[in-house]
């Protein structure tokens, strides 16, 4: 089941939530809508589900215009951020709900409903919980029941609104891998909303970055991460060092240093620009290996698990430079606070004229 979102616009009093969004989602795809809170991503999801109406534009589900269908007839599975399990129904009744409310003519028999519910609960590894009430389950368990409930009616499309945001870090990680596996098994076209770039990168086939009601970029996680289309995307997808500098003769001048850009810079006229580089793309060594290496002093060291975060001070740079190196490199080099090192900046991405972040 493919989804074709055409030019969706939504205004709320005082601001525009969605400014003409168009997006195609292919059958069986798992797409992440990624953006800061308030960017309009949840509104878009709710419009697809029929829980909100668009001011303009249309939603086509598999060649059928469903823009004005009531939510009840959209046959879209929706998983709410806070699960929205029916608190007075037990797990079995929750999952069976969508089947029990079918018109008598198309409603499966009691036995079939039971089989289907048990099958789904098996899929989400919650068979043991059929008699429990939502209040007796943990957050992660509730989320899985909510997923089973949404899948019970064979939705053409599965929509998940910040599915992991209410869970604690460890459960979140577990559930996200599990959801990826589940999707590989059942292949239902899915869109999920998140503000967590790691989640989007790990889970999605395709990422759609949204900001202020507009799509900034879309593509595979690899594309979006490695080739951010603009400064916003660069900033939003992970930590980044930003240097303000001048561009001349295909090179970037920052604080008196010449830095090579990742891509060829066109034009010879001098421009102001911003150079972006991720902390883990910066090299650190004890000895100078090329003329472009800059000297720096380690001001702070942070243990971040497998990676080590360094804060470096270098002449000509206003702000400290953030660097991440593998733990092994760190211990091999025997780095300590106050040590002098050399910094290699050779993969900067440059954006000119656009100061918007």
């Amino acid at each position: 089941m493919s989804i074709d979102i055409r030019n969706i616009t939504k205004r709320f009093p005082g601001y525009t939530a969605l400014a003409g969004i168009s997006l195609k989602v292919g059958t069986g795809e798992l797409v992440a809508l990624l953006g800061p809170s308030g960017c309009g991503k949840t509104t878009l999801l709710r419009i697809i589900a029929g829980l909100e109406t668009a001011d303009a534009g249309s939603i086509i589900l598999e060649d059928r215009d469903t823009t004005n269908l009531p939510a009840r007839e959209k046959k879209v599975g929706f998983v709410f951020q806070h699960y929205a399990l029916f608190r007075r129904l037990n797990v079995f009744e929750n999952v069976a709900f969508g089947l029990n409310v079918l018109p008598r003519s198309s409603r499966p028999r009691k036995k079939e409903i039971r089989e289907r519910v048990l099958h789904l609960l098996g899929l989400v590894q919650m068979e043991w919980s059929i008699d429990r009430y939502p209040s007796q389950l943990s957050g992660g368990q509730r989320q899985r029941v909510a997923l089973a409930r949404a899948l019970a009616v064979n939705p053409k499309v599965l929509l998940l609104d910040e599915p992991f945001s209410a869970l604690d870090a460890k459960v979140r990680l577990e559930l996200r891998r599990w959801l990826r596996k589940l999707h590989d098994e059942i292949h239902v076209t899915s869109i999920f909303v998140t503000h967590d770039q790691e989640e989007a990168l790990e889970l999605a086939d395709r990422i759609v970055v949204i900001n202020k009601g507009r799509i900034e970029q879309q593509g595979t996680p690899q594309e979006v991460y490695d080739h951010p289309a603009n400064t916003f995307v660069y900033n939003f997808l992970g930590n980044v060092n930003v240097f303000h500098g001048r561009i001349r003769d295909g090179k970037v001048m920052v604080g008196g240093h010449h830095i090579e850009a990742q891509e060829k810079l066109n034009g010879h006229e001098e421009k102001t620009g911003q150079a972006f580089i991720r902390p883990h793309e910066i090299g650190v060594s004890r000895i100078r290996s090329s003329d472009n290496d800059m000297p720096g002093i380690i001001r702070d060291i942070r243990l971040m698990g497998s990676q080590i975060g360094l804060e470096l001070e270098s002449a000509g740079f206003e702000h400290p430079i953030e660097v991440e190196i593998p733990r092994e490199t760190w211990s091999n080099l025997g780095l300590d606070r106050g040590d002098e090192v050399f910094i290699t900046l050779d993969k900067v991405k440059v954006f000119t004229g656009d100061y918007e972040i």
Partner: protein
């Protein structure tokens, strides 16, 4: 655009039905009947209206209703504050029962409360005979009315104060104490100002209720014209004489008094909310 409408499409079902029924039922049971009083009063000859509401007996009854309700609200502020303070801050046997019993004046039919107080304070009643021995009589006096109204109004004060008291952060008190304030200073300068708006709200509710109260008062009041005849009773006796215009004129004045009070209350609460943000 008509009121109660919106240009947004509603997602959940039943808005039209529930809203339509709500507006219809509200109009049929409350709005239209209340409007008859207002319309009726405006159709009255202005002179007759003024004549009615300035008749000495009517004026006396309105004055009595206002003063007794005001006195009762003041007493309720004291007793209600005491009860709320004790029930929230201290632990003692019977506390939960007392807490539940605060609602008795809401739950007990007013007529029952009325005959109880009339009997208790009659010269042969449990309390009345003690007072009679000292030459005091409360029945058939404005003081008797105040006693009945204290009973009716005190839950308003307790129930508005309780939540504020229990949400009071101990840090407020502790920091005041650590700055060298005595207990009394802490209470007077820190706690009381914090609780005052709720106290005022509760007292106003109790006052508004007291003005219109009928059942619990008439038995103990004795209903002597000019002395212990309350305004609602005035309406009653005008109705008994089929003086519908007179009754609605007095009712109109009483309604104005109650609504003014509640509007003022609203304004005070809004002001308070603004100040606390």
């Amino acid at each position: 655009m008509p009121p109660f409408s919106t240009n947004r499409k509603h997602i959940l079902p039943g808005f039209g039905l529930s809203m339509g029924y709500t507006v219809f039922y509200l109009s049929a049971i409350v709005i239209v009947p209340l409007a008859t009083i207002v319309i009726g009063t405006f159709r009255m000859d202005p002179q007759a209206f003024i004549g009615t509401v300035t008749a000495p007996r009517v004026l006396a009854s309105c004055r009595l209703s206002l003063t007794t309700a005001l006195l009762a609200a003041l007493c309720d502020s004291v007793f209600g504050f005491l009860a709320a303070w004790t029930l929230v801050r201290y632990r003692f046997p019977g506390r939960k029962i007392l807490d539940a019993l605060v609602d008795i004046p809401f739950a007990l039919p007013t007529a029952v409360a009325g005959i109880c107080f009339a009997t208790l304070y009659s010269p042969v009643g449990w309390i009345g005979q003690l007072l009679a021995a000292k030459g005091i009589q409360l029945i058939n006096t404005p003081t008797g009315i105040v006693i009945a109204l204290i009973f009716i109004g005190f839950p308003f004060v307790v129930r508005t104060l309780q939540p504020v008291l229990s949400e009071l952060e101990p840090e407020i008190e502790e920091s005041a104490r650590s700055l060298g304030a005595t207990r009394w200073q802490t209470f007077r300068r820190v706690l009381f100002p914090h609780l005052f708006p709720s106290l005022l709200t509760g007292a106003t509710l109790s006052f508004a209720r007291g003005i219109g109260e009928y059942g619990s008062v008439i038995f103990i009041a004795g209903n002597l014209p000019y002395k212990t005849e309350i305004a609602p009773l005035m309406i009653m006796s005008k109705l008994d004489q089929f003086d519908y215009d007179g009754a609605s004129a007095v009712a109109f004045m009483l309604l104005i008094a109650s609504f003014t009070m509640l509007l003022m209350l609203n304004a005070v609460q809004r002001w308070q909310e603004k100040a606390s943000h």
